[in-house]
Symmetry: C2
Subunit: 243 residues, 2 copies
């Protein structure tokens, strides 16, 4: 029975996130509906990142076992014809039985976009958080360096009770591209809300409300009531998953 790996791109605006939930429109739900037109699912769909409501993906990776064995190219084309226009399969391959999109992933990369233009842009409103005020990007870069390495990210997460929140950040980078600020973080995994709370805390530094030392203290204090406010989901993209 073939194990298919899909790379997905989706505009999360109109979805209650990746994970299937009764009565809600979810990306997983739409993918299962599209698959029903092509083959029979013989396993759950495993996903590398359980993106929250409103979060986008340019490179979500999922896998599943299917009863029929269409070629990867035909499967991708068939799924794209059944999927709504805000979800697309951008790659499909058959992988070994041992591959699991979630457990086999070595790292995930998320990017948060902050749009800094003076007026609210109609073309960025769905894909970037609008913050027109001044920002000390040098201080933000210094704070972002603090997160690289292995840390307990309890301060920047709404973790489930009893689950640990130690994660390893491989890379963290701030880039200015035209009137956007892109915060890119690559880590072995992310705790729930980590990117949005981390970016909200970085914004406190950028606005001069916190020093880099304050940021470090909040992170090390592991108390999420001291975090900066979580930024809204629409600026966040699951960019890529590494295997």
């Amino acid at each position: 029975m073939p194990n298919y790996k899909l790379e997905l791109e989706y505009d999360g605006t109109d979805y209650s996130g990746w994970q299937k939930q009764p009565g809600l429109q979810t990306v997983q739900g739409k993918l299962e509906e599209a698959l029903a037109g092509v083959s029979t699912l013989e396993s759950p769909i495993y996903a590398a990142g359980r993106t929250d409501a409103g979060v986008h993906a340019r490179g979500q990776v999922v896998n599943f076992f299917a009863a029929l064995k269409p070629s990867p190219g035909r499967l991708a084309a068939a799924l794209n014809s059944f999927l709504p226009p805000d979800i697309a399969v951008r790659g499909c391959e058959e992988v070994g039985d041992g591959f699991n999109a979630r457990r086999s992933a070595l790292a995930r990369e998320y990017v948060y976009y902050i749009y800094r233009g003076g007026y609210p842009s109609p073309f960025k409103r769905r894909y970037a958080y609008h913050f027109p005020g001044n920002l000390d990007t040098g201080a933000m870069e210094d704070a972002l360096e603090v997160v690289i390495g292995t840390h307990d990210f309890a301060a920047f997460s709404r973790r489930d009770e009893g689950k640990h929140s130690v994660r390893k950040v491989f890379e963290a980078e701030l880039r200015s591209v035209e009137d956007e600020l892109c915060i890119r973080v690559k880590a072995n995994a992310f705790v729930w809300m980590m990117m949005r709370m981390l970016c909200g805390s970085l914004l406190e530094v950028g606005r001069g409300r916190w020093t880099v030392a304050d940021f470090m203290q909040v992170m090390e204090g592991e108390d999420n009531s001291l975090s900066g406010p979580a930024l809204p989901p629409h600026g966040l993209f699951l960019e890529r998953v590494f295997y």
Copy 2:
């Protein structure tokens, strides 16, 4: 009585075009509603380009006379607070009485975007026409050169009876940017549907259905029943207006 010039950006997806029409949602209608919260309009709103349903603008220019005299910065901020998120004022200034956004314009620049990726992109679906097939872009460039200069564009328009369709094209350029093809045309003015029919005809050349000579013959024949099919509105942007 002050004469205000506004530069507007809008996502045309959810509008029946610029021009106010009873019972329909239009950009002009939304702007008039927003203005009602700020001042009293003492003239019609004049626009440089009457964009059709679904067409976007990055640099539409309009003007109007108003009863009150807020500073341009305050007027822009107030309008942006009243306008829906898919319409934004990106610039505002007070201009002389003689300025008319439509009559004073020396040139308009439109850009048509063709997305050439192999799968339908969730992030481009509202802003580019998806054409995944092969295209001979060299031949398209040659055809595009033919339109530069003063011509009767009757073949590429659905003109109103009795109105003339001679226009002067100053610049016409094809550019490839990553997986997009951008067709940029700057002309003194455009006849109705001109960009979409011109780009649809260019696509016939790109697909090898027409030679450049065929394209030239259709254009010179001035018979719009021989034009390539008009491309859909969502790939078209009113980019800039020149004064």
